[in-house]
């Protein structure tokens, strides 16, 4: 391969000639869009069936459809949110076969036969899940957009602690993790809340964790 610097210089000279561009060592590809013309293939469609909040669902989907878009756009379960679509925010968190995942980074067709729980499956406005009620009581949200993901994550976090799964802040890897403030905050860190309700969310989760302990 030719030296990258030389290659770039020649390309730049060729493409933009005298156009001023101070001190660039490389040139964005956008300047040289000479891709061949292609005709795009038709979408590949596939049937998939899974259970969402206890109800069997059968869908015929473009293979490209994420689980998140299947829920939001096809099943109209819009409680799961699309904050980034790249696994960087956690707003799309749902529980699949007992484990929380980012539904934006999972293809719907890969969930054949799975049991999926979304925020809509945890409780309803008239009959809130204890975690939902605790979020209301502690004002563990503001704009509400990250909230379903936070709540799904919180429910799963308490299960993970109960199952003895350690975290980054677990001091003793051989011990049994507790739902301490530090543990909960570390485990919830995949759910970003830009409104900054973290302190209240931690209190909501602590209340549910304490209640669960007693039970």
């Amino acid at each position: 391969m030719p030296d990258a610097g030389e290659l770039e210089l020649s390309r730049r000279d060729l493409l933009i000639g005298g156009a001023a561009s101070a001190a660039v060592t490389a040139v964005p590809a956008a300047e040289a869009q000479t891709m061949p013309l292609v005709t795009e293939d038709q979408p590949s469609m596939m049937a998939v069936s899974f259970e969402v909040n206890g109800r069997a669902q059968q869908l015929e989907l473009d293979t490209r459809t994420t689980l998140l878009d299947a829920l939001r756009e096809h099943l109209h379960l819009t409680g799961s949110k699309k904050g980034c679509d790249h696994g960087q925010c956690g707003a799309c968190t749902v529980i699949v076969d007992g484990r929380r995942i980012n539904s934006c980074l999972s293809l719907a067709v890969m969930h054949q036969g799975d049991r999926i729980t979304t925020i809509e499956g945890l409780g309803t406005p008239d009959k809130l899940h204890p975690m939902q009620a605790a979020f209301v009581k502690h004002d563990g949200y503001q704009c509400g957009y990250c909230t379903p993901g936070q709540i799904c994550s919180a429910v799963a976090v308490l299960d993970e602690i109960k199952a003895g799964i350690p975290s980054h802040v677990t001091q003793d890897l051989d011990g049994k993790p507790q739902a301490s403030n530090l543990e909960v905050r570390e485990r919830m860190s995949g759910n970003i809340c830009r409104c900054g309700a973290y302190s209240n969310i931690a209190e909501a989760i602590a209340e549910v964790a304490a209640g669960r302990k007693k039970a």
Partner: protein, 739 residues
């Protein structure tokens, strides 16, 4: 209702509903995923097609040619709109750059096309097939470089933060020269991204000449005007509906590309179209808080009285844009006879700078409050005491203007006591806790209170249900709940008898959400409408409205009482009014105050910084709902911590764009960064602000807190970092040597 004299006693003072920590009435919907956000309105547009926005690949230049053949031929594609086929478009008066670029490109990721297809997957794939040939032009991307020739420029942020190009009181230069103790330091803050969790999103549908936008917008009436102006249609033909907004922080104050591209796409496709800005596009496509370079000079007597204060700030923006008003608070916050503020504006070809939570004060206080800390140390004074000594109860530039309320000293004193400030070692770099260096920092918080006209309509039906309608938005602020509380208090009904409808431009025009003006003004608008409704009810039930009391679902006077619902038995009663302000805002300086206290720990090995405790003591008028107000403050504290420790849009100065343009690259605080946060509200009512006697708190929390974090880090390490964010690399080399 005109508000031009300070409020006397009124029904709000009963405080049966107002002032109580109240769960949000929209909480059950939000926590169960039933609150519908813009992109989720399957109910109103079941057959919406999907639009996907193509952003410009260069920062400055022009489009030489666009090849849409492959994209048009792709499966499912219904339409592609570019500047070439969009028809004549205007530009909103609040937009600096055009929302649809081409042939000229003004900034990176400026929208150049929207591809509309049957499905999201098809639209996204086809958007990749749009081929654009650009000609790149020389751009200006380096603030430090352009600052050298930046001219003076004044600005009013429109959010209570303003300064002229240059502003002098007394003789700064003389006083600074003569001062026995001086400080001259320069601070920088980087570009910040709002990074609200809900991306900008809109569903647009045309019905003949009329377009409806289900969108995510903080300022409905502004948006309606701007849509009309940009599309060249009459305002009457535009409707916006935005009942739930997934965060804004100033990023959704204006019409943005999602709404325009959805409207254009829907017109071209002949059916409703939904568009969300994909996350990697948002940082460069939309607005951001501009970076600043701030020089602060302070002069004081040995006993700590400020005699000279100068604050100069330089920021950049696209041609036609404005400066970040980072010096605004320095005109007001501390006493001192000789003062100078100045702002300079460089022309940059980076994306558009604009308002982000507390524009002006947020970055300005990050510099000023560190300068105050540095000066206190030079004076050998406690930084709490130094601020208290320099308190002023009047506008220092116009001493005849008093503050309507100013309890900054109380905030600082109470905060110091609650936080255990006395335990702070005034000498920095002394306290160790295992591997950690530990320190405490303080800063004042300051943000103005703004008065804006705000209207509402209130209905009473035969079941005694009160319905509030206004185009006010709830962007997480708690508007639904405080408006319901206001109506409940005024009409004497329990909270669950009030329904609140927000965000529809067909409803009366409110103050909207921005500049922490939403709560006080929009509730005052509902107050005004309720006063009218009470008069109607009194007439209907045969009471003298002046002495009728509304309580427990009844209207009472002397020993007569009647059911409120009976007033609307035959037909619904409807009242509409607005709050409008006289010159109390001019006569009095209206501001909100806080004392921010922070404890930070710095890993003596790695330099990693973790905040351990945070406290804000706030004085902000009557607190309408202490529960949601507290949330507003901790939210500001969290965003301020982000600005202090990690947030920075990294500029590629060669190609002119923000490189870390997603939520993995642009780090904002996560749960693990945020300890338990304490907020204390001082008991305060401000009869000068409105009949509600309230002020804003939505931005107070972010103002100053970054400075408190910085000061805590300095107290821990003894290393002063003046360039935000304070990341470990900036103090690593100066930390104590490792064993």
């Amino acid at each position: 209702m005109k508000f031009d004299t300070p409020a006397g006693t009124n029904p709000i003072d009963q405080l049966k509903v107002i002032g109580k920590p109240t769960d949000r009435i929209d909480g059950p919907l939000k926590t169960t995923g039933r609150a519908p956000y813009a992109y989720e309105r399957h109910d109103v547009a079941p057959n919406a097609a999907y639009g996907y926005v193509v952003g410009a690949a260069i920062a400055k230049g022009r489009i030489k040619s666009m090849d849409l053949r492959d994209a048009k031929a792709a499966p499912g594609v219904l339409a592609i709109v570019t500047a070439e086929n969009a028809g004549k478009l205007g530009k909103g008066s609040m937009n600096t750059a055009k929302l649809l670029g081409g042939p000229d490109i003004e900034h990176y990721h400026q929208a150049v096309a929207v591809v509309v297809a049957e499905t999201f997957e098809q639209a996204r794939a086809a958007a990749q097939l749009v081929r654009v040939d650009y000609v790149r032009a020389q751009g200006r991307f380096d603030l430090a470089e352009e600052a050298k020739r930046a001219p003076l420029d004044g600005e009013n942020s429109g959010e209570g933060s303003a300064a002229p190009p240059i502003d002098r009181t007394g003789n700064f230069e003389g006083a600074f020269k003569a001062a026995p103790v001086t400080l001259d330091a320069t601070y920088t803050t980087p570009d910040h991204s709002h990074a609200m969790m809900e991306p900008h999103a809109t569903i647009a549908a045309w019905d003949g000449e009329k377009v409806t936008l289900w969108t995510s917008n903080q300022m409905i009436a502004w948006g309606k005007n701007e849509v009309a102006k940009t599309l060249g249609i009459s305002k009457e033909n535009v409707r916006l509906d935005s009942p739930y907004v997934g965060g804004g922080f100033g990023g959704k104050l204006f019409l943005r590309a999602d709404a325009l591209m959805a409207a254009l796409g829907a017109r071209a496709a002949g059916r409703p179209v939904k568009v969300t800005l994909q996350r990697p596009l948002i940082a460069n496509n939309t607005t951001h808080r501009p970076a600043t370079i701030q020089r602060i000079r302070l002069g004081a007597t040995p006993d700590g009285r400020l005699t000279a204060i100068a604050h100069e700030s330089t920021s950049g923006d696209l041609p036609g844009g404005g400066p970040e008003t980072a010096v605004s608070q320095t005109r007001l916050l501390y006493a001192g006879e000789n003062r100078l503020t100045a702002m300079r504006l460089a022309v940059l070809d980076l994306p558009e700078g604009n308002a982000m939570r507390a524009p002006g004060e947020a970055p300005g206080m990050m510099a000023l409050e560190v300068a105050m800390d540095e000066m206190a140390e030079k004076l050998g004074m406690d930084p709490v005491e130094f601020r208290i000594v320099n308190d002023t109860q009047v506008d220092p530039e116009k001493p005849e203007r008093k503050y309507s309320q100013r309890q900054l000293n109380e905030c600082l004193r109470i905060g110091a006591e609650r936080f255990g400030w006395a335990r702070r070692n005034p000498k920095s770099g002394q306290v160790r806790n295992g591997r950690w260096l530990v320190g405490m920092g303080v800063a004042a918080g300051f943000r103005n209170n703004l008065l804006m006209k705000s209207a509402a309509r209130v209905r009473l039906d035969g079941r005694g249900v009160v319905t509030v309608e206004t185009d006010m938005t709830d962007i997480g602020t708690g508007s639904y709940t405080i408006l319901a509380q206001t109506a409940a208090e005024m009409m004497g009904v329990p909270l669950d008898r009030v329904v609140v409808r927000l965000g529809d431009s067909d409803m009366p025009v409110s103050a909207g959400s921005g500049g922490q003006w939403g709560a006080n003004n929009s509730t005052a608008g509902v107050y005004a409408a309720c006063v009218k409704l009470r008069e109607q009810v009194a007439v209907k039930l045969g009471f003298n409205s002046a002495d009728a009391a509304f309580a427990d679902g009844e209207v009472r006077s002397g020993n007569r009482h009647a059911k409120l619902a009976d007033a609307a038995k035959g037909s619904e009663l409807v009242a509409e009014d607005s709050i409008e302000y006289g010159d109390l805002g001019k006569k009095y300086q209206q501001s909100t105050f806080a004392g921010h206290f922070v404890e930070a720990a710095v890993d003596s090995f790695t330099g990693e910084i973790r905040v351990r405790r945070m406290l804000a003591v706030c004085a902000a008028g009557r607190i309408l709902n202490p529960k949601s107000a507290r949330s507003q403050v901790i939210g500001g504290m969290t965003m301020g911590l982000g600005a202090a420790l990690m947030e920075e849009l990294a500029v590629d100065k060669r190609f002119g764009f923000f490189v870390n343009h997603d939520l993995a690259g642009y780090e904002v605080p996560v749960h693990a960064d945020i300890p338990h946060q304490e907020v204390i509200f001082l008991d305060e009512v401000d009869p000068v602000s409105s009949p509600m006697k309230a002020k804003g708190v939505g931005e107070l929390g972010i103002c100053g807190v970054g400075g408190a974090v910085a000061n805590a880090i300095y107290n821990a390490t003894g290393v002063r970092v003046r360039d935000y964010p304070i990341t470990l690399d900036k103090h690593l080399a100066r930390l104590p040597a490792i064993a």
